[in-house]
């Protein structure tokens, strides 16, 4: 216990916890809607597209182009480039994907899932191709793509905190509208709501969070936060409010446990360890649910 407290007192562990907890809280909250709206693959595709945007920041022709703009845009100056450019391009790529995925007409010609799947596969493949042409070695690029929570910078935490606060405020302010439009978009339209505009706003908040989180936590961990804690919570509760709360609580617990285990003498990579903790919670919830179903009714 004292060793765990000692580890938690270290600066780099505290920074990692701050960053991971921001990502965990917001993504696991929004993930409940991702799961209920049956758009889990959208979450994966948005993460992958944002990853492609981040990878493009290390693609030589893009690097040359952006640095040529450097005098006009400070974020692309060489001293800021490695931290700013991946986030900006991830954000831009996410915006394009959100604009496409939130179209209500999407799926009239081809199944919606197929379009999202093609985007996922295309973005994943292109990311590997782009990274293979990174002449300066792929370490920074891989960090930008896969995240390195234990190496998170203060500037990353600031960006995460600001983005997280904006998303949290929007989600809180428009909670009832987001629930209505997700639950019954057609009735929402008959009540005078512009369902398409509300959908776009919701996707934007999701996209913002994914784009800024990828840089810190990587695609796998962000996707895991979007899916695993919400699934665990949905197994244990039948009240939306409680599901949202439990999802956040589970993601926070898994983050604490995962980071503690990863910096302990066991020495495991942090993101996969957090994912492992979330999977364990899901399995445990499944067992609890199965056990309660077997209990004889009174």
């Amino acid at each position: 216990m004292s060793q765990a407290m000692e580890l938690l007192g270290q600066g780099f562990v505290q920074d990692a916890l701050k960053a991971a907890l921001i990502v965990a809280v917001i993504c696991s909250y929004m993930g409940v809607f991702v799961v209920l709206k049956r758009i889990v693959f959208v979450g994966a595709a948005l993460a992958e597209v944002s990853g492609l945007g981040a990878a493009l920041a290390f693609f030589p022709p893009i690097v040359s182009l952006l640095q040529a703009l450097a005098p006009q845009i400070g974020a692309f100056r060489p001293e800021h480039y490695e931290h700013s450019a991946p986030i900006i391009l991830a954000f831009a790529a996410m915006l394009v994907a959100v604009a496409v995925f939130s179209q209500q007409g999407l799926g009239r010609t081809l199944p919606r899932e197929a379009i999202i799947g093609a985007t996922f596969a295309g973005a994943a493949g292109l990311t590997i191709l782009v990274l293979s042409k990174n002449p300066s070695g792929s370490e920074h690029a891989m960090d930008a793509l896969n995240g390195n929570i234990l190496g998170v910078l203060h500037s990353d935490i600031d960006i995460l905190a600001i983005s997280g606060a904006i998303v949290a405020i929007l989600q809180g302010l428009f909670y009832k509208e987001f629930v209505l439009v997700a639950f019954d978009p057609e009735v929402a339209r008959t009540l005078g709501y512009r369902s398409a505009a509300w959908e776009l706003l919701w996707y934007l908040t999701l996209g913002i969070m994914i784009a800024v989180s990828i840089h810190v936590a990587g695609t796998v961990l962000v996707f895991a936060y979007l899916v695993l804690p919400p699934m665990t919570a949905l197994l244990l509760s039948r009240r939306l409010g409680l599901v949202l709360l439990l999802s956040v609580v589970f993601s926070v617990l898994a983050t604490f446990a995962g980071i503690l285990i990863s910096v302990s003498p066991v020495d495991l990579p942090s993101s996969p360890t957090i994912v492992g903790c979330m999977v364990s919670m899901l399995l445990l919830a499944w067992l609890v649910r199965a056990a309660s179903a077997l209990r004889p009714a009174r």
Partner: protein, 252 residues
Amino acid sequence: METLIEFEHADLGYGRRSVVLRDVNLRITRGEFLGVVGPNGSGKTTLLRTFLRLLRPVSGTVRIGGSGEVRFGYVPQRETVDTLFPIPVGEIVMMGRYSRIGVLRRPGRGDHEAASRALEHVGIGHLAAASYRDLSGGQKQRALIARALATQPDVLVLDEPTNGMDLASEQGLLDLIRRLHVEDRLTVILVSHLLANVANVAHRVAIIAEGRVDEGAREEMLTTEHLSALYGMPVQVREVDGRRVIVTGTPP
């Protein structure tokens, strides 16, 4: 009588290349009960979506609301409502209040009272805390009607409300709809693929067939001659204990 909805030579559909219903002429006045009947795929949903202002006419005129705004209470087919969402019945009914509450505001005491009244009115006040997914088909339909009533609508629009119900639930629901029309003086539009559903409750009947809407008073529309001509097959309308019964086909 105040005209709430009026269609004049309206072509309805999804653009000039996908006109579903042609030259629709309809007038619905306050307090009326219109039954819209037609086989699956005939264009009932297109007509309903135009009523609800979700679709604009391809051509012609559709006027909704004469002297003021018309508020619709829409009851969708219950199969279209997602049961995966863990939302209690009371919260679903509260959704009907959202347009009155407005953006950035939370439901107040008046909204909670209105939602409770709507639930009591349809006979499921005791199910406010129950999960929607745990309800029977009839209870789900009543919950959706309560949500529509919570909007305090001028017009109640119901899309295939008795689909997949057993006889007792179906009759109970039709009785409820008739009671809402008579006691609350609600204007009702009931869309169904079953003539029998509207035969004894609607004042006016609109029958959709082959891209046309044939509309008139129930007594004119539901006659053996008219229905046989319209459907191109033997259809008999009989009265049993003062209720209309529609029989299709030739007697054995």
